[in-house]
Assembly symmetry: C2
């Protein structure tokens, strides 16, 4: 659907939950002056009383919204794959623009849906799906007009960053920090998606798809979560001037790139290190303009609703740009390096102090796999053990070193391996 | 001029210098897919050979561009007040959209030009006028859909930040650092506009106008520059864990606000403290979403040109929003606090060590004006002298304290007074 001239853009809203309620509130308050009009709302439970929906707006089913020919744009806030996926497909088929906050949908089906949108001359927007409060998709797309993203590092999940901040700052255990995150409303009843790193991987997949112009499946991204971190890991990080953050990273390499999500050491006095509590941050390094950093709260009802409204008022500009993105989208899927081949500098924490393990024994494990030691120190703090920093090497090599250390005589615990951010 | 349907938006370019050349380059490379077409270029010197301009594009005078009825949008890259102001006025009068990178023009005449644009149904955009590479105007406008900016702190001038970084990091004098900035291409032959803080004040005036919806004249902003800082000032800042940055700040207070530009102490390990070299940074604190930080290079040919292109492809969305901004713009001019009434915590550096001045004498100067001392220390570093940190008080009061200290028996130098950022 092309530019709507001389009348308001009519919006069909799918889902009237927390964010949907925020969108309704903004449309009531500002819709008229922004050229937007709420035409219809689809809800799951039609018996529920919803005083926020104006009485003149029909409330019904998804099909009723999709079948209404007067509707220009559909806002999908159902979440999850179905029925959201079918609804978005149908909306685009009938040439309605779509705005969604659904990261799973965009991460898994973004390539297909963008192609469909372009075939039908419709726009597909999803600013609210990544770092709700930061217009990171707009920023990357604007930058892509002339530039090329070489590296991207992000803290994309507020829940895990809240937990890690509590662990690092207060010495909380993972379990206590998780309980605190729940009490503060930052963690779901089932936090698995967040703490496993999979939520972050979905968001990273969306950003990688954007910066490379080629679909990136979340499953192609190596992921590790924060569930296994213990207080001693945070103390070890602190000893080397760092903090542990759940970092989503993409580094371009030739035609492909490396993308992964992992607990990573970043310098305490770096922008990412200073990103605490429920904040998100995205660091983007481009070929021409160098690096940029954007830091702010990642989620919340009104910020997310505001991102949706912003997508709605920039649909026409987006339609132009997406044609270009789509033509790149037909290129083959991205060649992401296998997780074993990922190189970094690493911290190995050997949690046991064992007089039978002089530096020479641990050093031999590194030497056996051709990995250089850059720093070696026995921590004076109880329970931390020995900290070894390696030179740059592959994940495969450092894992082999860790396995050899675990086989030393008397070892009962497996060493902890953590990546270090390039500048750490 | 409203949405351009079914054909390319025709662009008239005023000025083909550094940024103008970048705009031409981007239009040649990407214009077609973005729905933009270079229609005419106006240059000062028509005899100069300009191979970057496609041969089919007429090159002529400003009047020829303005008189061309086929042109939808005018890009003003002349700079300065005249003839830029008259050209922009005429363009808006004849209902052409205008995109400009001219900070002086927007700072001084933004209110009038916005009203004119709205009367004629045209859009006026100026993303490239502030922090070229960071889409800060877009970010603030998007946030204003539902939120309210309470405080804004920014490093908005790359030249001065480059100079201050050299002074702080390398111990350079102001003069040496300025020479280095010139050699690196970051300073003009006449750097007065930058180092006096006036360039920053123009940009701040634009941002304050945006966040308050009311015109803010640059002349209403209290400004002090960086020309008078000496190496000992940077050492004093370092002793209290801070760095000196040229900070533009706005703090909302009731119906008005406080806006100023001054060398200010920020914590070394804060986002603004970590903003080094020619980088810009803007910290925005909103009522609902809390604070955000955006950090990146402030200027450059392609980033600035890209901001212009971005303004061009979002003209329709901007037109809707500017109606709202304009209605607020008719409110009375902002009540900015007089510079004397500005409160902050302060650092006073008494550059002389004088045995005739025990803490009691300096303390008495503070007490006489009701200003509390929070920290007092004699620096062990040569030439730094005594550092005193005050509790929050007005600029007027701290200046009176400084004047009293300067009158102490044997004093030859005037104490240096520096504001501290709220979180320092």
């Amino acid at each position: 659907m092309s530019a709507v001239e001389g009348r308001k853009r009519r919006i069909g809203l799918l889902g009237a939950g927390v964010v949907g309620g925020g969108v309704i509130e903004l449309l009531r308050a500002r819709g008229s002056e922004l050229g937007l009009e709420l035409a219809r709302v689809a809800v799951k439970d039609r018996t529920k009383v919803r005083p926020e929906i104006p009485s003149e707006v029909p409330v019904g089913t998804i099909d009723e919204v999709l079948a209404d020919p007067s509707i220009d744009a559909v806002v999908e806030l159902i979440g999850g794959l179905e029925p959201a996926l079918s609804a978005v497909r149908t909306a685009l088929e009938v040439e309605k623009d779509v705005v969604t906050a659904n990261k799973l949908l965009v991460a898994e089906y973004g390539g297909e849906l963008r192609r469909l949108a372009n075939e039908r001359g419709a726009a597909l927007r999803f600013e609210a799906s990544v770092a709700g409060c930061l217009p990171i998709i707009e920023i990357i797309e604007a930058g892509l007009i002339f530039d090329r993203v070489e590296r991207l590092f992000g803290i994309l999940n507020g829940t895990t960053n809240f937990i890690l901040t509590r662990c690092q700052r207060d010495g909380s255990t993972y379990e206590d920090a998780l309980a605190e995150a729940r009490a503060a409303g930052f963690a779901e009843a089932d936090p698995t998606l967040d703490v496993s790193g999979r939520d972050t991987a979905q968001k990273l997949a969306i950003l990688v798809g954007l910066v490379t112009g080629r679909p990136c499946a979340p499953s192609s991204i190596a992921v590790s979560g924060i569930e296994h971190l213990v207080p001693a890991d945070h103390l070890a990080a602190e000893e080397v001037g760092c903090r542990i953050k759940l970092i989503a990273s993409f580094v371009r390499t030739g035609e492909g790139g490396r993308a992964r999500v992992a607990p990573t050491l970043v310098p305490s006095s770096s922008a990412l290190g200073l990103t605490t509590d429920e904040y998100n941050a995205v660091e983007v390094e481009c070929a021409h303009i160098g690096w940029q950093l954007h830091l702010g709260k990642g989620a919340g009802r009104m910020p997310t609703a505001s991102a949706v409204i912003h997508d709605l008022i920039t649909l026409d500009a987006a339609r132009e740009r997406s044609r270009e993105t789509e033509s790149k989208g037909r290129r083959p899927a991205l060649d992401l390096a296998a997780s074993d081949a990922w190189t970094a500098r690493w911290l190995i924490r050997v949690p046991e102090e064992n007089p039978a393990w002089p530096v020479s024994r641990i050093g031999a494990a590194f030497a056996a796999h051709g990995v250089e030691i850059v720093e070696y120190r026995r921590s004076r703090r109880a329970g931390v053990g020995t900290i070894v920093l390696s030179a740059e090497t592959t994940k495969g090599a450092i894992d082999r070193v860790a396995r050899d250390i675990a086989k030393l005589q008397g070892a009962v615990k497996i060493p902890v391996v953590l990546a270090m951010e390039p500048d750490a």
